[in-house]
């Protein structure tokens, strides 16, 4: 690597106050993750094992960048990379990519084991996508209309909503079989070709006639996005879906995601019920539960601005084509019924 002119240091009690300085330089006080403005809260997240964060400093000791990985998934060994900030004019051009690269180096993540790092790269510019792909992340899905364009104070998108490419940097070998929905077998096999080997089986068992659906949810209010992680499916699956669709409309959600575990042998029938209710494929969320998951999505706002989605790779562009086709097929089917 060329001489960088900056150093990257883990956030600790001695420098945690600089995190707020970095975020204010770009977002003022408006960044939607409140703890970044409070050194004590940053340290609380780190001590609780929910956050791994580093700051970049220039040769004069000024904080000029920040990157963090945090826990986002039911799997405690899966990290999400994000909240990367470079102070305007403060760093060399390669600083952003240097920060991205930082945690991919062995030993820079806390804990003994990491199954991988998942990222959601925004699609109103190429920066994150280019950096992640070149660092070895694999593209696994495309979340349409995930974020509100108006929430970006810097580099404001030209589109009302912002899509994100789901990317994974896999760091351990997966265990256990993955049951695939028959409806998306070819689509998912295309993604699996680029990941570590897995046992892939058809998920064609019938839906259970007993038990309850088990899901955790996260409502991203600023984005109008509601995400459910479904780890078990019970006899109430259809009613569960009807209920969250009603609630989604009540709370004016724009984007609804269901991330369904591939440990469930009944996944084909579960997906059939999702499609009957207007859900379409979003992609694979590898290692989401330890095992993988399939994400289906539904949008309640305007038609997505497909032309405004900037995608770096042919893989991602093909994914968008397939996802768009599936959405249109689901819509046509709905109109016929």
């Amino acid at each position: 690597m060329p001489e960088t002119g900056y150093t990257i240091q883990p956030v600790d009690a001695s420098n945690a106050a600089e995190v707020a300085t970095v975020f204010r330089s770009v977002y003022g006080d408006g960044f939607p993750v409140p703890y970044v403005y409070h050194a004590a809260l940053v340290m609380e997240e780190i001590r609780a094992g929910r956050l791994a964060a580093s700051l970049a400093f220039d040769s004069k000791g000024n904080a000029i960048g920040y990157v963090s990985f945090f826990k986002c998934a039911p799997n405690p060994n899966l990290w999400e990379g994000g909240n990367l900030v470079v102070v305007p004019g403060g760093g060399k051009d390669e600083l952003g990519w240097g920060l991205m690269q930082h945690y991919l180096q062995p030993g820079n993540l806390p804990g003994l084991q990491s199954d991988g790092i998942i990222g959601e790269a925004v699609c109103h510019h190429y920066f994150t996508q280019v950096g992640a792909v070149k660092l070895g992340f694999q593209e696994c899905g495309l979340a349409l209309d995930l974020l509100d364009g108006a929430s970006f104070s810097e580099h404001r998108p030209e589109t009302e909503r912002v899509a994100c490419v789901v990317q994974l940097y896999e760091q351990s070998d997966p265990q256990g079989p993955c049951y695939l929905p028959e409806q998306y077998r070819a689509f998912l096999h295309g993604i699996y070709e680029r990941l570590r080997p897995r046992i892939l089986l058809p998920g064609t068992s019938p839906l259970p006639r007993h038990g309850e659906t088990v899901a955790t949810d996260h409502w991203f209010e600023e984005a109008g996005t509601w995400r459910f992680s479904v780890s078990a499916i019970g006899e109430d699956w259809g009613m569960f879906l009807d209920r969250i669709l009603v609630k989604s409309r009540e709370r004016k959600a724009v984007c609804l995601q269901l991330i369904v575990s591939t440990a469930l042998p009944c996944i084909s029938e579960a997906v059939a019920q999702l499609r009957q209710r207007g859900f379409f494929i979003g992609g694979l969320y590898p290692r989401w539960f330890g095992n993988d998951a399939v994400m289906l999505q539904q949008l309640f706002g305007k038609e997505p601005d497909y032309e405004g989605i900037k995608l770096y790779t042919g893989v991602a562009r093909k994914m968008l084509h397939d996802i768009r086709s599936d959405r249109e097929a689901v819509q046509r089917k709905g109109e016929q019924e």
């Binding site: 690597m1 060329p2 470079v86 051009d93 390669e94 600083l95 952003g96 990519w97 240097g98 690269q101 510019h125 190429y126 920066f127 280019v130 950096g131 070149k134 660092l135 580099h155 770096y312």
Partner: protein, 80 residues
């Protein structure tokens, strides 16, 4: 059209017309002289890769900071 002329067109496109080809000399620095931030530079990487059918590594991207540097990289890569 020469490689330099193609490259100049790409930079004009990335700048959304803010820059004219006249200022895109080999010595011009992408950030300091032309005001291309990291997002614009990543878009330039995408266009350069597509136009010249080459791959730009992150290390090369970090090393190359001028128009002339990109030109040398493209010509060196295409020839090799």
């Amino acid at each position: 059209m020469s490689t330099m002329e193609k490259l100049q067109q790409l930079v004009v496109k990335v700048s959304k017309g803010r820059l004219s080809e006249a200022v895109l000399t080999p010595e011009a620095r992408l950030n300091e002289d032309l005001g291309l931030d990291s997002l614009a530079q990543s878009e330039l990487i995408v266009l350069v890769e597509d136009t010249f059918a080459i791959t730009v590594g992150l290390e090369e991207a970090a090393k190359v900071t001028t128009i002339g540097g990109i030109l040398a990289f493209v010509e060196g890569t295409v020839v090799s």
